[in-house]
């Protein structure tokens, strides 16, 4: 019986991984991390990027959504074994898996988002989150009436501390007397996927007087945004443009253009200009930014947008220095 179940599992896993069409010459693959491709945030941005590529070129791709820690390594290696030309790994947590797979399959190209893996066949794309967070921090301070704003992070890791620090500096830049209330959801990967906890944290921050909260917490953030809508307060989304989720309570979203990074990696790999090494995408490269659209145009006034754009120029020119948490 156990054997049968095990066989069944292997078969389903194989089906899930191998996906569709192999007919094309170019064979890309993507491994989403926990949270899944429809987390309305980080992974979904990557999904949008590869979907855009598929629409424009007609090239189909293999995909895998990691649901357990142990699957990461299997997924990356499986894609490489199935003759993927390029494997795109989404998320810092896949670094170890990518490193192993890249050593084992030196002819396969790997692109990892959000983490640096130093190997000759790996391209590492990292973002200057602190710059985007700085701008939304400014927006939060300008929109706040109480002079208190909040930050809710997902798992307590340096990457999220980087968001937090940039945000804090942005708040202080716009309003030196402001206070930032900071919370982390947890210390395990489960912290990315706990919207009720996010909602409790948000309630607690609003109760303490904050009226704008920036959530950098994956699917946990959905609980924060929901609470903002319930309480009639403001929230700032992350990674994808999340403004449409709760029009009227979304001040803006800190966009991390994972979609652009994924799309560019695929396009360059297809036309042969793909290069290994580290790519850093900041404000200057339009890799990060803040979202303005029809959903938040009443909340983010033109005056604020003008100030944010001015600060954006200053950061690009180096007139404003934003500290990178990793460099401290």
């Amino acid at each position: 019986m156990m054997k049968k179940i095990a066989l069944g599992l292997v078969a389903t896993a194989a089906l899930a991984v191998s996906g569709l069409a192999h007919a094309e010459d170019f064979n890309p693959a993507i491994v989403f991390d926990m949270g899944g491709k429809s987390d309305k945030s980080f992974n979904e941005a990557a999904f949008n990027g590869i979907e855009k590529f598929k629409k424009e070129t007609g090239v189909d791709y293999m995909e895998f959504e990691v649901t357990q820690v142990s699957q990461r390594e299997q997924a990356a290696q499986r894609m490489a074994r199935d003759d993927a030309d390029i494997v795109i790994a989404i998320g810092f947590a896949q670094a170890a898996a990518v490193e192993k797979a890249a050593k084992k399959y030196p002819d396969t190209k790997f692109t990892i988002i959000d983490m640096v893996v130093d190997l000759p066949n790996v391209q590492s794309v990292v973002f200057r989150e602190e710059q985007g967070s700085f701008l939304v921090g400014m927006a939060a301070a300008m929109a706040s009436e109480t002079g208190k704003v909040g930050f809710i992070g997902g798992m307590d890791i340096p990457l999220i501390r980087k968001f937090a620090l940039g945000y804090k500096e942005g708040v202080m830049y716009a309003d030196p007397n402001a206070e930032v209330i900071e919370n982390m959801t947890g210390t395990t990967p489960a912290a990315w996927n706990d919207p009720t906890k996010g909602s409790e944290l948000a309630k607690s921050q609003y109760d303490r007087g904050a009226d704008v909260i920036f959530a950098a917490a994956g699917a946990t953030g959905l609980g924060v945004l929901q609470t903002a809508a319930d309480e009639g307060k403001l929230a700032i989304g992350v990674d994808s443009n999340q403004n449409y989720l709760h029009p009227g309570s979304m001040l803006t979203s800190m966009m991390k253009r994972v979609d652009v990074a994924v799309y560019n990696a695929l396009m360059t790999a297809k036309d042969g200009t793909w290069k290994p090494g580290i790519q850093v995408l900041g404000l200057a490269e339009n890799g990060v930014g803040f979202a303005v659209d029809q959903w938040n145009k009443d909340l983010l006034t033109e005056e604020m947008v003008a100030k944010l754009n001015a600060a954006r120029e200053d950061i690009i020119e180096g007139k404003i220095k934003v500290t990178n948490y990793m460099d401290q």
Binding site: S38, E182, N183, K203, D207, L222, Q226
Partner: protein
């Protein structure tokens, strides 16, 4: 005033977090007092959370969702009863099996039905239980202390929180004052005596597990349609086990169990509040330590203050007539 305000807010959060624990612990109480170990609370809650969110998102009504959650939990409870009452199976194994099946099945069904990576769409409007303001809460806010407590602490929760509060005295009454409750307690202590009196042990245990399923259903629906807004993979996050711990902590009695649940919820609320706050003398405490606090406290309390807990005598053993 500032301290008072903080305490009120902490209590407010405590009520919200305690609600699913209280309902699940009461659910477990009926099952365990009737002599059936129920570690399947977690799975039943998760199943109910999924059914409630899925049906609420399709029908647009939180009440229909609640009904579906209760039905799902009742079905799982019936499965548990069928395995360990009718077929005298091992109760721990059956409960664990339910947990594992639901943990896999719910996201799979969600994936198949909604194509959103194992989640249901997020719920809004009438598909969620909204917080309700009790009458006169705005006027009462002006009255110092008591009015403030009424307006900020007692008013402004959703209906399921009040339901959980009402469930404690109702369950206590059923268990200690009604004929049904007497028989439940008897069947958990000495099923042979119950059988000798001409009452069907199996039927009683089925009934007890139906009550368990009903309460667990409300608890699960609370997670996905009242406290949260949609189903997410593994969203119970161990609350079923925590409720079971509270039940043992409360020595299988309704009121002490309620306090155990409140204590667990309170440590969670404090944990959220203490993060990044500068305390006198010690300064800022690391997040990791703060987050371990509820567990440390639980271990200390369980080890030091609870004393000997007497489980129902016949718990865990299937009833076989001709022994």
């Amino acid at each position: 005033m500032e301290t008072f305000h903080i305490i009120i807010l902490l209590m407010d959060a405590t009520f919200r977090v305690a609600t699913p624990l209280v309902l699940a612990a009461l659910a477990g109480m009926f099952s365990e007092r009737a002599g059936i170990v129920d570690i399947g609370l977690e799975g039943k809650m998760l199943g109910a959370a999924f059914a409630a969110a899925a049906v609420a998102s399709v029908s647009g009504s939180a009440w229909v969702g609640l009904g579906a959650g209760i039905m799902a939990s009742l079905a799982l409870s019936a499965l548990h009863a069928y395995a360990c009452v009718t077929h005298k199976g091992n109760q721990v194994v059956s409960g664990m099996a339910i947990n594992i099946v639901v943990a896999g099945l719910a996201p799979t069904l969600a994936y198949a039905w909604f194509q959103m990576g194992g989640q249901t769409p997020s719920l809004g409007g009438d598909a969620r239980f909204r917080s309700i303001d009790l009458p006169f809460s705005d006027a009462a806010r002006e009255i110092p202390v008591f009015g403030y407590i009424y307006a900020d602490l007692i008013s402004g929760h959703n209906i399921l929180v009040y339901l959980a509060a009402a469930a404690v005295p109702i369950c206590a009454w059923i268990l200690y004052k009604s004929r049904f409750g007497l028989r439940i307690r008897a069947v958990g202590e000495n099923p042979h005596a119950v059988d000798t009196a001409g009452i069907s042990v199996d039927l009683l245990r089925y009934k007890a597990l139906a009550v368990t399923g009903f309460l667990c259903g409300i608890s699960g629906a609370y997670l996905s349609t009242a406290h949260g807004a949609g189903f997410i993979r593994d969203m119970t996050a161990g609350k079923g086990y925590l409720a079971l711990a509270a039940l043992i902590f409360g020595k299988w009695r309704p009121v002490p169990t309620l306090f155990a649940c409140l204590l667990f919820a309170f440590t969670d609320a404090v944990q959220i509040r203490l993060q990044g706050v500068e305390l006198p003398i010690v300064g800022v405490i690391p997040v990791q330590f703060i987050q371990a606090l509820p567990y440390i406290l639980t271990v200390l309390l369980l080890a030091g203050f609870v004393g000997k807990a007497h489980p129902p005598k016949a718990i865990g053993t299937p009833y076989i007539k001709e022994r």
